[in-house]
């Protein structure tokens, strides 16, 4: 499967933008309290995810220097070129924010920059989704692609945010953790609904539940991993488990695994639902 680098690129970058999105909300809400968005743990995780994703995308480009060839498509409006530009803009803004807020305790004055970076992350998610809304691939050419890609970013973001947040022991820790867990349950549940609705819709166009394609296995894995994550979050809420590093790491890995499975399934849709339907495997 030649799309494996793209599977990792899209999922890792969506995780980065999603975690930053929730970290931004947390930062905006915390007003004059302790800084959050420039915490060392958060920044390390964001950069590990983002750089891993970018590295994966280079594998798809053949060699890193090919990125300059890709920029030529900007003048013709190639969605792939615009995606590369979005990655560069997001990475640059994140770097500037990190440098300016490095080891500072008063970072509220950089909130505009943080907001801009969060917005650039959302634009990047949209740019990624545009790559796949091709009129010649019916299973991709709908608002479902954009919705799913944003839902993925939110799910990965909130799971990653909880994982990082569970390591904090702040004053308002217990209260805020409860709220974030409820938000996470809501997002993961919505994602499950989106997956079911999308596959129901796409089922009219393609044969992904054909026993010969094995596509249904990937979809079931995705749903089961999300169900496990939701169940663990409900248990955490019931039993007031807010700082179990192991538990929240496991939840994040479940959501991450679920998204990898979902993305492989998404790429396979092109093969089984292309216009000719002759490349069916």
């Amino acid at each position: 499967m030649h799309q494996i680098p793209l599977v990792f690129f899209t999922v890792l970058v969506q995780a980065t933008t999603g975690i930053l999105f929730f970290s931004g909300i947390k930062q905006f809400r915390s007003a004059d309290k302790a800084p959050w968005a420039n915490s060392m743990t958060l920044q390390i995780i964001l950069w590990v995810l983002f750089l891993s994703g970018s590295l994966a995308s280079f594998l798809h480009l053949g060699k890193p220097s090919n990125v300059f060839n890709v920029l030529q498509g900007i003048k013709t409006g190639s969605p792939l070129s615009l995606e590369v530009v979005s990655v560069a803009v997001f990475g640059a803004l994140l770097l500037i924010y990190n440098v300016l807020t490095w080891k500072k305790t008063q970072i509220q004055k950089y909130n505009v920059l943080l907001g801009t970076t969060v917005f650039a992350g959302l634009v990047l998610c949209y740019a990624i989704s545009r790559v796949y809304t091709l009129p010649t691939v019916p299973a991709w050419d709908s608002a479902w692609t954009t919705i799913q890609f944003f839902m993925s970013a939110l799910a990965l973001g909130v799971a990653g945010f909880l994982f990082i947040h569970s390591r904090k022991q702040e004053e308002d820790f217990l209260e805020s953790m409860k709220i974030w867990i409820i938000v996470a349950i809501g997002i993961l549940f919505l994602l499950m609904v989106t997956i079911v609705l999308y596959n129901k819709w796409a089922g009219n166009l393609v044969v992904q539940f054909d026993v010969n394609t094995h596509e249904w296995i990937l979809i079931i894995i995705r749903l089961v991993l999300l169900a496990v994550s939701i169940s663990l979050l409900i248990i955490a809420l019931e039993k007031d488990i807010y700082s179990s590093w192991l538990m929240y790491t496991f939840i994040f890995l479940c959501v991450f695994g679920s998204e990898l499975s979902g993305r492989i399934s998404f790429y396979n849709m092109q093969k089984i639902s292309g216009m000719l339907q002759i490349f069916a495997y």
Partner: protein, 207 residues
């Protein structure tokens, strides 16, 4: 552009011998299994019950030989992030500039005809170039020359349409609305429309 070139495929004449495929591959030396021209075997039909309780069958089968259709609105050109995929100014033939192509395979996803093929040895895309070198020497495309049934033709598409008519859609190909292909088809009595679900491609594994 001086003259847009296009293929004519006579489905009535084509017997599915695949000489065009073999000739093309021999000339272009493309790697095993990567055909710039492909012959789809499309078939369907079943037994039907008549009103008097007797039965008849409506089985049909035909072959469609397809390579790149050098479309008027080629989506491969539109989505290419490097502008490597482009239309020749003189003939409108869609070509790959190998100095620019990075082998991202975006064109392969986008093309509804499966025309761009990935050459894993080069790490780049390749495709039917309409035998442009042969055309420049006044010769015909290799697939056309090789066809023993004379079911293929290639030339200025206006001439193809004058000679063979205006039909340009047939199952299992997609509707023309996506890319405006420069393709002329002679359908024959079994031909089904692009939207038809009557049949299925029988030789999927060949591709």
């Amino acid at each position: 552009m001086k003259e847009q070139y296009g293929f004519h495929v006579d489905v009535e004449k084509c017997t599915g011998c695949k000489t065009c495929q073999v000739a093309c591959r021999s000339l272009k030396e493309s790697e095993t299994g990567k055909f710039y021209r492909r012959v789809y075997e499309y078939a369907g039909g079943s037994w039907q019950e008549n009103s008097d309780k007797t039965w008849h069958q409506d089985v049909f089968a035909y072959h469609v030989s397809i390579s790149c259709n050098h479309c008027d609105e080629p989506i491969c050109v539109r989505v290419c992030p490097t502008t490597a995929m482009h239309k020749d100014e003189k003939t409108g033939i869609v070509l790959v500039d190998h100095k620019k192509c990075i082998g991202c395979r975006y064109c392969e996803w986008a093309c509804p005809y499966g025309a761009p093929r990935f050459d894993s040895q080069r790490g780049q895309m390749t495709k039917c170039d309409g035998c442009i070198d042969r055309l420049n020497k006044g010769e015909q495309a290799m697939c056309v020359t090789a066809c023993p049934l004379r079911a293929l033709d290639f030339g200025p598409v206006t001439k193809m349409r004058e000679r063979y008519g205006l039909q340009d859609e047939i199952a299992p190909l997609p509707e023309k609305k996506y890319t405006s292909p420069n393709l002329v088809i002679t359908g024959g009595r079994h031909a089904r429309s692009a939207l038809s679900k009557d049949g299925t491609v029988l030789n999927k594994k060949e591709f």
